[in-house]
Symmetry: D3
Subunit: 132 residues, 6 copies
């Protein structure tokens, strides 16, 4: 049975190394986390995912810290332990304080609760909300 | 078979009316959306939910607009049409621009994608991320 | 492009009719709901699903009404509108009162909230809970 | 990077200790599980969550054991390991037998299956079910 | 309040039109479905999403029809009505027969059931499965 | 508090042993994985689940390897670590290559992403897709 390991920098192809270098430079860090080392088994997906993440998570109309908190909100809702750990660390690094983390958790918890109250009570969309 | 309707202001008990009044005053609006009218069938849950929402969604370490975007991130992940419509409207009212909405969607979509790449590749948590 | 319609009793094969008859007799009703009419396009799945449902949802160590409420809890969590509507109707028929429905919704909402607080705070399982 | 630990009773503020005392008194137990020790980093959420849980999970139109089983149904559907472990232990303590646990699992499994058959076959809601 | 409409070909910018043209040419069809018309409000996401979909869903180690069925499996699990409808139509066009659809639904339903039996029974991973 | 262990072959009842024997014969293997050993605490669910799995996962209009990949797609979407590990091993055994695994992951990731773009943009179903 085949097994996919984590691709370390020393063992990586030049193509993968170039992506690792860009990840470290963009994030101003000197190490690569396991997610990328696992994806590196498939350089096509590694490249596509990194290019997308780089484009999406950078500064824009929404600041990078808020984007990390949005990432946490999704990861917590989906119950993905790795994603929660890695993006919480990333948000901390970008300035998320304890107070912000606590409010983030409160919003995410409440949203998951009211999402179910809405569907359980079979609430229909108000005319006033029929827009995007 | 019993049927739960939407409780209109005119038909509401004084207890429910007081909550409706507080919702409208807090939100500076003159109408009540269906979610609350449905919950009003159970004044205990109506009161608890409104008190929690009011406490959580107000200003704090995270601003109200960002909280609405976090709410949307959860609701989109859970695929709750009512919640998406109502909180998108609320975020618009609080200043979410088209550009912000587009970036919000991009982050939520990407987080949902990488959450699955992480679990599918069975990625283990890096030692560096083992914190909260 | 092929299209799968709903298989009405009058158009059903003897095999499907026999299952429809058993559904109506077991449920003491004179009509078949759309779920079964859709599944009837695949008699194998229709039979397997009905036999399983019949075995699982009947009286046992847990009473049928509680089982319907468990079904609603799952369906609300998964945001399945059809399942919520059909099992709420079934629970009503088996005696679920408004008060029970309200408490059911409160539990389901709260469980969905605390499930996320647990994962967001990355809470580890207490030794005392390591059992089944 | 900030790290949130578990707040032990000995290290807790008077406000948090009072909540811990109420949890232990209400549950007739002499220890606090990790969920509350983690939430104690944010006394506001600790208080709100405990007050809600205490109100919701107590006796009412639905008995406390059934409420624990509903909690398990949600937690299993959401795949939350901590929640499954803690609420299974709680349900055991309140009298859930092996036979009840087995039926609970059977219902939860089946509901998750038919939820998907319904959406995959794109089944529309019967007129008879259009109520709450 | 801002509202995002569907961007029709006639109203699209040259950049968006070029993507629409590529979608229609790649799919050998003469119309654009609503998903792309909605994304066109954000040409950056439209381009990124289309480029990714085009790369991923084409022929490779897995054939295009199987990929459509995988897409359906995910969409049914997530309860996304639009995605189920559009990818079922796409799979039909690529050759999915009624028999294949029925088996697909059976597998998806069963997987959703056993996923929950596994978590509810708190099953630990066998040593033999600890590989990728 | 009761605890459910794993039922080993040596400790199993004749009824459970017969099912274990059928599992091993059908799968051409000489061991039983933990999922079945856990379910064996409830012979009724063990039998029903095995009979269903055996019927569904065998050859038919869709080949067994594709069925395993569909199972992985669901399990990854639901974030079920045991299910991902066991069905990835099963798919490997049936011939899933690294290239196939990589494409499978890419499709599952992308589907989870676009499922959310669809719901976030509140895309309505095209008339052309209103079929099954």
């Amino acid at each position: 049975m085949a097994t996919l390991g984590l691709i370390e920098y020393a063992d990586a192809s030049p193509e993968v190394r170039a992506i690792y270098d860009d990840i470290m430079a963009t994030r101003k860090t000197d190490w690569i986390n396991n997610f990328w080392k696992a994806l590196a088994n498939d350089p096509t997906t590694l490249r596509r995912t990194w290019e997308s993440i780089k484009q999406i998570m950078g500064p824009g109309a929404i600041d990078p810290l808020t984007k990390e908190m949005l990432y946490i909100a999704v990861s917590v809702t989906n119950q993905c332990p790795y994603c929660i750990a890695s993006h919480t660390a990333a948000a901390r690094k970008k300035g998320m304080t304890d107070a912000m983390f606590h409010e983030l958790m409160a919003v995410v918890g409440m949203a998951n609760e009211t999402n179910r109250l809405v569907s359980g009570y079979q609430v229909e969309i108000d005319e006033q909300f029929k827009t995007r």
